[in-house]
């Protein structure tokens, strides 16, 4: 079974019946038919009444679903708390229900506007909706009962809609199934949503209309069921047999073209060698190719030179530097979120250690699952270590003279020691975001509106992390260690303490560090419900979409989640990383936003994500396998130049989409383009610490020379759980920076810069200089017109140097420079 089908199986476990044909004889007709006239049939609160409220909009956030309620009446958002909703409707100071004279109930008077209603008219007074509500009221307005069969799954027909022309429509039919085997057509009780209303719309009755060319998904929601349906309208008539022959040298390409063939989108041609080299160097290693590298690559006639170049790049330190930066993004490496208190002044160094630890593993190509396990199971003090030895180990990393090698540590604990992860819920949110690409934030307070997660799921997931905290070590030893040092009488939170702590560390004094407390998973006591006690309730840890974990005894309560993640069958772990890596190369993820894996947000090409995730798992989480597979594909190597069919395509991989370079890569590109040949060699050999992509922490507003620039260019501070912190959007001040900032002039004119190098060497051949300027900025040779314009400018200038300086300035300021094409 493929990863994707597993993912879908997981989804469908709650959403779909085996087999797609719906046996009509057993399916109850929709309520819109049954309640056309007033009938006696008693509607079910959970099956009919609450979904009807959803359909009428009553429990939306702007209305009674708001956390404050509205007009003194509050419903759970989108209706998932059936008991509370029933209590709100039937109880309280102003019951919305009048059992003696049902027609006088506020829940029918208000939405029909028989009484004033701020939310306006919601309910036609003579329709099936009214009849259904009245039947429920007349039968005593009973709530959900324990013996009610649980909702099991949702099935939608058709599974895919391919439209022929604009304005075509298709009607969805949604069948719900309950645990007792009963089935009902719930189409009129569903919420529907289109993921892109410029392609297709869907109305409340489930009628989908083609309004634009391209593809998207419409999603049906009912109870806890969420089912996306692929919808497409071909962009041209070049579909199926009429589709031109397009080479598909790799499996990846086959899967991409299979979808393009349906859509009638023809891929662009393959990009030029110069474009390929620049693109892959920037994407894979965050680095602009050097001028001589471009020339050598263009001159080479080896048929496999692109493949060789990919291997060469994967072996470079710049590859490890860039991906250590990306992994630092995903996992939240930031000096700004380190712990407060005595060790606070070490937070910048700790961020550096975090980066180095990741860098080492990327460089050595340690399997991704192993790397992540080293973070997810990060520990402070080993079980065989005394507190004094632990503190001794910690200070060894901060010694001024020959500090110990932090990157050699088995695990990296700083993910867990961040002050933003002080609470168990925060740990669960960060964990799900960093390693699973799942956003649980909504479920923290209410049923996730477009995923299966309930508040209960969230609470049970957090139970794995209960008790994990960064806090003081053993009290007596801590006090003893401080005794006789200047820290003895100081308050740990005072500035004095923090300063002295750092100074003493540098001198090698053993000082008390805080430590990461990791509880063992708890064995259920006889007669007790197994689980973790949270706020007076016992919660059984439960994997997301998986099993409850009971009776297990692990020395580390986090172990079962990590084992689950690393299992080949895990629906999220590999996909989340594959999708994020994909987003690095194509600008958008196959699932986008890349850190939002949820049921209502299906991948644009499920088979492709499947293939890559399965391959990644099969390769034993070999990150280089993934980079190689993507960059060697024809799809990655397509030209950005559009044709008539793919001009507007930005999501189906029919051409290279123009992307602004990431913040650090832009800054580095300016540094590299203006560097002398010698300086360039140094920067390539040892990017860590010297290059912007080799800087450890998230954006921190420090005094580093690149700080202002990377802030403007959207370097993420890495303080929240969102990949969106990194911004590659253009902005005015970015342009102002490149045009006219003293920092840029300083780089142009620096003593170790290229302009100084050619002045010193008295190079005066303008043609050669112009070529060099083009190679080191745009990684290509100028065409005739460009060379002519540049030459004219230089010959009009007061001397060659100043003319060349202006040319280099101009090239750095072209869109082509700051864009990956």
């Amino acid at each position: 079974m493929t990863t994707f089908s597993r993912f879908i199986a997981l989804v469908m476990a709650i959403c779909m019946l085996p087999g797609s044909a719906i046996a009509e004889d057993k399916v109850a007709p929709p309520v819109s038919e049954r309640y056309k006239a007033a009938i006696e049939e008693v509607p079910n609160f959970q099956r009919h009444v609450i979904p009807l409220f959803g359909r009428l909009g009553c429990n939306g956030r702007a209305c009674h679903g708001s956390f404050q309620g509205q007009g003194g009446f509050r419903l759970s958002l989108f209706g998932y708390d059936f008991a509370a909703d029933h209590a709100a409707i039937t109880g309280g100071e102003t019951p919305r229900v009048n059992r003696k004279s049902p027609a006088e109930s506020l829940i029918v008077l208000k939405p029909t506007l028989a009484e004033p209603h701020k939310g306006g008219k919601r309910l036609p007074a003579d329709g099936w909706e009214y009849n259904l509500l009245m039947a429920w009221l007349k039968s005593g307005a009973v709530g959900a009962k324990e013996k009610d069969a649980a909702f099991a799954s949702l099935d939608v027909e058709p599974k895919e809609i391919v439209f022929g022309k604009l304005g075509d429509t298709a009607k969805l039919r949604v069948i719900a199934k309950w645990a007792d085997g009963t089935r009902e057509d719930v189409t009129p009780l569903c919420r529907f949503r289109s993921n892109d209303e410029s392609v297709s719309t869907v109305n409340a009755a489930g009628v989908v209309t083609a309004v634009g060319k391209g593809d998207t998904a419409v999603v049906a929601f009912y109870d806890n069921g969420i089912v996306p349906i692929a919808v497409l309208l071909p962009v041209s008539d070049k579909v199926g047999a009429k589709y031109p022959a397009v080479p598909t040298p790799t499996k990846l390409d086959e899967l991409v073209v299979a979808k393009l063939r349906k859509l009638g989108i023809v891929s662009s041609d393959v990009c030029t060698d110069a474009e390929f080299l620049r693109r892959v160097s920037l994407d894979l290693a965050g680095t602009l190719p050097a001028a001589d590298e471009v020339q050598a690559f263009l001159a080479s006639e080896a048929p496999d030179k692109r493949t060789k170049k990919i291997e060469e790049l994967l072996a470079r330190p710049t590859y490890a530097a860039w991906w250590a930066t990306k992994l630092s993004d995903f996992t939240g490496n930031s000096e700004r979120t380190g712990p407060l208190g005595g060790e606070q002044a070490l937070n910048r160094e700790k961020a550096g250690q975090w980066y180095d630890w990741v860098y080492r593993r990327v460089r050595d190509n340690e399997p991704y699952d192993k790397l992540i396990a080293g973070i997810a199971l990060g520990i402070g003090r080993r079980t065989d270590q005394s507190f004094a030895d632990y503190c001794g180990e910690m200070i060894s990393y901060f010694r001024k003279d020959k500090p110990a090698d932090f990157a050699a540590r088995d695990t990296m604990p700083y993910f867990w020691t961040r002050r933003t992860l002080g609470k168990t819920e925060e740990q669960a949110l960060a964990f799900a975001h960093a390693f699973l690409g799942v956003n649980l934030q909504c479920a923290q307070c209410h049923k996730h509106p477009y995923d299966q997660w309930t508040k209960q799921d969230f609470d049970q997931f957090t139970a794995f992390f209960s008790g994990v905290r960064y806090g003081l070590g053993p009290r007596a030893e801590t006090v003893a260690m401080k005794k006789g040092t200047p820290l003895e009488k100081l308050d740990e939170d005072s500035g004095d303490y923090k300063r002295k702590f750092v100074n003493l560390l540098a001198s090698g004094t053993v000082l008390p560090f805080k430590e990461l407390h990791i509880p063992a998973s708890q064995k259920p006591r006889p007669g007790m419900k197994p689980g973790v006690k949270v706020g007076g309730r016992v919660l059984t840890p439960k994997l997301l979409g998986g099993e409850e974990v009971v009776n297990a005894t692990y020395s580390d309560a986090r172990q079962p989640v990590v084992d689950w993640m690393r299992d080949a069958e895990n629906p999220y772990f590999a996909r989340a990383f594959v999708n994020r890596v994909w987003a690095n190369y194509f600008g958008t993820g196959l699932i986008d936003p890349p850190d939002d894996l949820n049921l209502a947000n299906p991948p644009t090409n499920p088979a492709l994500l499947d293939y890559l995730a399965d391959g990644f798992v099969a390769s034993k989480f070999d990150m280089k396998w993934l980079h190689r597979t993507i960059t060697k594909s024809r799809t990655y190597q397509l030209s950005w130049r559009p044709n008539d069919t793919n001009r507007l395509d930005e999501r189906n991989l029919s051409r290279s989409v123009l992307r602004r370079l990431p913040a650090e890569v832009v800054y580095d590109a300016v540094v590299l383009a203006t560097a002398s040949d010698d300086e360039r060699k140094k920067l390539d050999a040892d990017p860590v610490g010297l290059r912007s992509v080799g800087r450890s922490s998230g954006y921190a507003g420090t005094r580093q020379t690149d700080a202002y620039a990377v802030m403007l260019l959207g370097k993420p501070p890495r303080t929240t759980n969102c990949d969106c912190e990194r911004s590659n959007e253009p902005a005015l001040l970015q342009t102002v920076f490149l045009r006219n900032d003293p920092e840029v002039f300083k780089l142009l004119d620096r003593p170790e810069g290229w302009l100084k190098q050619v002045t010193k060497a008295k190079v005066t051949d303008a043609d050669k200089l112009i070529q060099q300027a083009y190679l080191r900025t745009l990684s290509r040779l100028p065409d005739e017109r460009e060379a002519g314009a540049a030459k004219k400018y230089i010959s009009d200038a007061k001397d060659t140097q100043s003319g060349l300086r202006d040319l280099l300035w101009a090239l750095i300021n072209t869109k082509e420079f700051i864009v990956n094409r």
């Binding site: 509205q70 303080t719 929240t720 342009t735 102002v736 006219n740 869109k815």
Partner: protein, 430 residues
């Protein structure tokens, strides 16, 4: 593109559609309606936030406690201001003479005693939370109020803790990185033409750029990225070429009569620059003035530098705005991250004290010459009603006609009001 999804499952398009059909309205609309009686025409179109980093002592500035025991009262005496009954610290004589131009908010109170988090709180008016970075005042103002195309909309002198947060890099500040020195032309990054470059030379160089920047010609119509970059290129060119921005930043060209009251100190010069920028049409300027973290030698530091500088710079700024007829349309908001301990410590210092602090608000329709709120006898906490940083922020936005209950959406789709917990402090507006 996939429309932005919100935590409540509504897409941005849904909002538009729902609104268009009149079938419903948002929470913010509801709040706006239910508070409709509050609405008052805003007066201000620009703002200056003076940030006193480190947290100034409230007792030793605008909330003196002459009747408290000596270890609380401190070394300074109060003086009368030009508003009967209102006294401030004796080392703020110039501000005392124009107390009718500003309102003092006493008894502001919160519970964050750490600099960084406190600063985050007071820079955005929302208590910091781990899952979201809130945009600072400058980012919100530049989003809400359209500015002059030839000028930056948000200038920080020399830098600021305010962030663009979830609003994104478009609303990031131009940081001057330095403050002007008296009589010396001020070079500001990005605006001043570097290395003695003339406008003509810049134009010439820019022509070369236009000539060479043609690779993506023809795709601008289909690419939001290229189109956006082209628009910013034009705007950047206008801004750099125009004399307007350069002139505004060039403090050395200020008439001596106007410049003199600002003195020659860093803070005074920063205030002069702020005045020039506001006069030129910049929407939002923030001046950072730090050094208020007086754990030791509080009185010496205050008397010897901090208070005289604040007195000179701020009084000149307020007077300058007033003279140029800009005070009605410019809100000035002065605040730090917290107050300081009422009791003097053994190093003659005062420590962090968020339970009581003071803020000043002036201009933009704020009724000057009044004290709003009060602290108890020793300045340890609010005497009665406590004001929050959120309320200060809400009131600040109110002066600019920005409804602090307006909802933005974060990149993850979460709906967030500009100020989540605040309400406008009504007495400020008389």
């Amino acid at each position: 593109m996939i429309p932005q999804r919100f935590c409540d499952g509504i897409t941005r398009r849904d909002f538009v559609r729902v609104g268009a059909l009149g079938a419903g309205f948002g929470l913010a609309d509801f709040l706006r309606l239910s508070h409709a009686a509050d609405a008052k025409p805003a007066k201000a179109t620009s703002a200056v936030v003076v940030y006193l980093g480190g947290g100034p002592s409230h007792i030793d500035t605008f909330d003196p406690k002459p009747d408290a025991p000596a270890e609380f009262r401190g070394e300074f005496k109060p003086i009368d201001t030009n508003v009967p009954g209102v006294q401030i610290c004796e080392h703020l004589p110039k501000l005392a003479k124009i107390a009718d131009t500003y309102a003092i908010v006493r008894g502001v109170s919160h519970s964050i005693a750490a600099h960084e988090l406190g600063t985050e709180y007071l820079s955005a008016g929302n208590r910091p939370i781990p899952s979201l970075v809130f945009p600072g005042y400058g980012a919100v103002v530049s989003k809400e109020l359209a500015g002059d195309k030839e000028l930056p909309h948000f200038v920080a002198i020399p830098s600021t803790a305010q962030k663009a947060g979830y609003l994104g890099v478009r609303y990031a500040p131009l940081q001057t990185s330095d403050v002007p020195k008296p009589g010396i032309p001020f070079s500001v990054r990005g605006i001043t033409l570097g290395n003695g470059l003339t406008v003509t030379e810049f134009e010439k160089r820019n022509n070369l750029l236009s000539e060479l920047d043609t690779t993506f010609k023809g795709v601008a119509a289909d690419s939001k990225l290229i189109d956006g970059m082209d628009k910013f290129a034009q705007q950047a060119f206008d801004m750099i070429r125009s004399s307007k921005a350069r002139a505004a930043f060039d403090v050395s060209s200020e008439k001596p009569a106007i410049a003199k009251p600002f003195g020659e100190g860093r803070f005074g010069m920063s205030c002069l620059l702020a005045l020039r920028l506001i006069a030129a049409g910049v929407r939002f300027v923030t001046v950072s003035f730090s050094g208020w973290d007086t754990h030791a030698n509080n009185f010496k530091s205050l008397q010897g530098g901090l208070l005289p500088q604040l007195d000179t710079g701020l009084s000149a700024l307020l007077a300058g705005l007033k003279e140029q007829g800009l005070l009605d349309t410019t809100t000035v908001y002065v605040v730090g991250e917290f107050g300081r301990t009422p009791k003097v410590n053994e190093k003659a210092g005062r420590d962090h004290w968020p339970r009581a602090m003071t803020a000043l608000l002036a201009g933009g329709g704020v009724k000057g010459g009044q004290v709003v709120g009060a602290t108890d006898a020793k300045g340890a906490g609010p005497a009665a009603e406590a004001f929050t940083p959120d309320q200060l922020a809400a009131s600040f936005y109110h002066t600019l006609g920005i409804d602090h209950r307006k909802e933005y959406h974060t990149a993850t789709g979460r709906p967030v009001m500009i100020v989540r917990e605040g309400s406008v402090i009504r007495p400020l507006f008389g």
